[in-house]
């Protein structure tokens, strides 16, 4: 054997010996919420099965994360191998060619088990571009004791008229109990998530089939007037600053009779560790106006792989594991069924153990199924999305319109002016973007 051959052989052996140590490192960008943090803690089960993959986490606040991952994916920065994205980004980014198609997730993945409403929001031209990690809709959470005291009974599927009647009956401002708590803080994912969903049930819509903004119509006027009426008469003071967490605090400390918000809140308000009203909470579907659509939204946090990633195969392995049935079983085993990430798989809602551990399971599933992102409104619309419009311009106009409506709630402008502002802002942006002339 020549000296050169020996050196070559030795180098090859050395490479083989150290290769297990050179594990592929996946950088995962995610939001800070309970389910995601739990996943970080449980990933040893994944790395034990895949010793050649290492995981590195970047956890950020939702808005920071959105800005961060959008910058990175738009510039092909390649900082992340897996991104946590919402149902708003998924179709837009998929159409841009920024995401890897999730076609081969393994034999055990059972893609047909994903809830159809959630899967539909992540699918573009029949192809899945993001895997749902947890999903949510919105529903009514109410105080059973206060409802009983008011001599009323909450139906499973209430109307907006009933909600108003119940809010009036439950309000006792002297005792700091407010009939209804709703989002008022400005933002496309804050008050506009609630108001867009509410508007859908009133027959309102963001745009007609020609992309013309519709805030000058009667349906939006009725929506905003009823919302302001509810909140001004029966809502907590300073509601224009309240988002999910503020209302959660109010509800958990016994200051709200009803709260219409994300289904994920159900596990918080029924947790006796944090909630003073844990054993007094009932659930109902989001209200309607008898027009065939309910005022509930649909949202999911999903795992997606940016097209710029060099580690697509390893990333797919992780995404498949984190959104699998196997993962749900793992969470159930380690943390109990009540802590399993909800809203993604049909089989979870058929599981008697989950039904028993999560009293809100049935209502969550019905709420998710009641939302249809492909046909969100009473009339036909040219867009996808229940509480948002899946176009890149929506973040800007959604927040600007949210500010106009939040100002109306704070009392600084009238409902008419707020709607006129919303119409003007939206028209201007849509003209600039070339949707209308």
């Amino acid at each position: 054997m020549t000296k050169f051959a020996r050196v070559l052989l030795g180098a090859t052996a050395l490479t083989l010996a150290v290769s297990p140590a050179l594990a592929e490192k996946l950088t995962i960008a995610t939001v800070n919420n309970g389910d995601m943090i739990r996943m970080q803690k449980l990933t040893d089960a994944f790395t034990a099965k895949n010793p050649d993959i290492e995981l590195e986490w970047v956890t950020l606040e939702e808005n920071v994360l959105r800005q961060r991952v959008t910058t990175d994916i738009a510039t092909k920065g390649g900082q992340y191998d897996i991104m946590t994205i919402g149902t708003y980004e998924a179709p837009i980014w998929a159409k841009q060619g920024w995401l890897v198609e999730l076609d081969d997730m393994g034999a055990d993945y059972d893609v047909d088990d994903l809830l159809p409403a959630i899967r539909g929001g992540l699918t573009v031209e029949g192809k899945l571009y993001a895997a749902p990690f947890y999903g949510e809709s919105s529903m009514v959470m109410y105080r059973k004791d206060l409802m009983e005291k008011a001599g009323l009974e909450m139906p499973d599927a209430p109307t907006w008229d009933f909600i108003k009647q119940a809010a009036a009956a439950m309000t006792d401002k002297n005792a700091e109990v407010y009939g209804i708590c709703l989002r008022g803080k400005a933002g496309w994912g804050e008050n506009m998530a609630f108001l867009s969903a509410m508007a859908n049930s009133y027959g309102a819509k963001w745009f007609d089939m020609d992309w013309k903004p519709q805030f000058d119509g009667e349906a939006w006027k009725a929506t905003l007037t009823d919302y302001l009426d509810l909140m001004t008469n029966y809502g907590p003071p300073g509601a224009s600053n309240n988002g999910f967490n503020e209302n959660l605090s109010l509800f958990q400390t016994g200051k709200c009779g009803m709260w219409i918000d994300a289904t994920v809140a159900a596990s918080f308000v029924t947790n006796p560790k944090d909630s003073t009203v844990a054993d007094k909470v009932g659930f109902a579907l989001a209200p309607d106006k008898g027009l065939g659509k309910r005022g509930n939204w649909l949202w999911a946090w999903n795992l997606a792989i940016p097209a710029g990633s060099q580690k697509t195969e390893a990333a797919k392995k992780f995404v498949a594991w984190a959104t699998s049935k196997e993962y749900l079983d793992l969470v159930a085993e380690k943390e109990g069924w009540a802590n399993v990430p909800p809203g993604t798989r049909t089989s979870l809602y058929e599981n008697p153990k989950y039904q028993e551990a999560a009293p809100f399971a049935k209502m969550t599933l019905e709420s998710i199924n009641a939302a249809d992102p492909q046909h969100p409104t009473v009339d036909d619309v040219p867009y996808v999305g229940v509480q948002f419009v899946a176009i890149p311009e929506f973040q800007g106009i959604g927040t600007a319109v949210g500010q106009a409506f939040s100002a109306a709630l704070a009392g600084s402008v009238s409902a008419e002016n707020a709607l006129a502002n919303a119409q003007a802002i939206t028209e201007r942006t849509m003209k600039k973007a070339g949707y209308i002339k």
Partner: protein, 276 residues
């Protein structure tokens, strides 16, 4: 009589100063107190000031979830690195502007300051692309460079103000004694300007430590400083105030201690020009 009035005035000024001091410090105190509460107590209304069940569970959880030491070291390296690099560039620049002013020196100074008026997000994409192409994304080197550039106008301005207060005749005398340019700056100017340089250094370390736009947008996992550590504890859905307060307390503690021990130097430096 006049002495009594003076005492009364002194007392009044003391009370006002304390009131302002407490008002400024109160949010920090509240953050520290909240970090020892449970999540339920953190949102309780009315809030309890000190009579609650003190707990260390937030600190335990923050320690379990995040690598504090990594973020802390990144903060130290980035803030000190950018400040020292900034001083190395700014001392000669401020010297030339203070002692050898040209016709357009004032305009140059104004132009430097005007770069601070641009909202950072306006140049995010170009800088991000440059960082990507030079392989600087998520590196400490990249952040040292960008924070140096961001804080350079302030460093130059501060040093320029201090250097202006030093009589040019002293430097002239040194030159007469045969000192070269290097000796003049290092052995004559710098020792006289130590309080000014020290306060500039401290202020810029604080500014770089607290910088939360570039440090969040140009980092991922490896070079993320304490600002990213704090940002990871804010949650859109779920209670997080107590844990966020614990993370914030851990993040501000080092800079608070630094500020406490160097407050004399800071105040002296900041009033250096004013009392001359």
């Amino acid at each position: 009589m006049s002495r009594r009035v003076s005492n009364r005035r002194k007392a009044l000024v003391t009370v006002i100063a304390w009131a302002i001091g407490i008002a400024i410090f109160f949010p920090i105190l509240w953050t520290v107190l909240t970090s020892f509460k449970t999540e339920a107590e953190a949102i309780a209304s009315p809030p309890s000031f000190v009579f609650f069940d003190w707990t260390l569970e937030n600190y335990t959880e923050v320690n379990e979830r995040s690598d504090y030491f990594l973020h802390f070291m990144n903060s130290v390296i980035i803030s000190l690195g950018s400040t020292l690099l900034g001083l190395a560039i700014a001392i000669p620049a401020a010297w030339s502007m203070a002692f050898v002013p040209a016709k357009r020196t004032k305009d140059v100074l104004m132009w430097m300051l005007s770069t601070k008026m641009l909202p950072p997000v306006g140049v995010l994409i170009p800088i991000y692309l440059l960082f990507r192409d030079f392989g600087l994304l998520d590196t400490r080197t990249g952040l040292v460079i960008v924070l140096t550039l961001i804080n350079l106008p302030i460093i130059v301005w501060m040093l320029f103000t201090y250097f202006k207060e030093i009589p040019g005749e002293i430097l002239e005398a040194a030159r007469m004694d045969g000192a070269g340019l290097w000796e003049e700056v290092i052995h004559v100017l710098t020792p006289m300007a130590v309080p000014g340089i020290a306060s500039t250094l401290l202020l810029n370390v604080i500014l770089a430590w607290n910088e939360a736009f570039w440090t969040l947008n140009l980092t991922a996992a490896k070079a993320a400083p304490l600002t990213a550590f704090i940002a990871s504890y804010s949650s859109p859905e779920g209670l997080f105030y107590a844990k966020l307060s614990a993370a914030s307390t851990l993040a501000i503690a080092p800079i608070l201690v630094l500020g406490w021990f160097s407050q004399k130097q800071l105040v002296r430096g900041l009033t250096f020009g004013a009392v001359k």
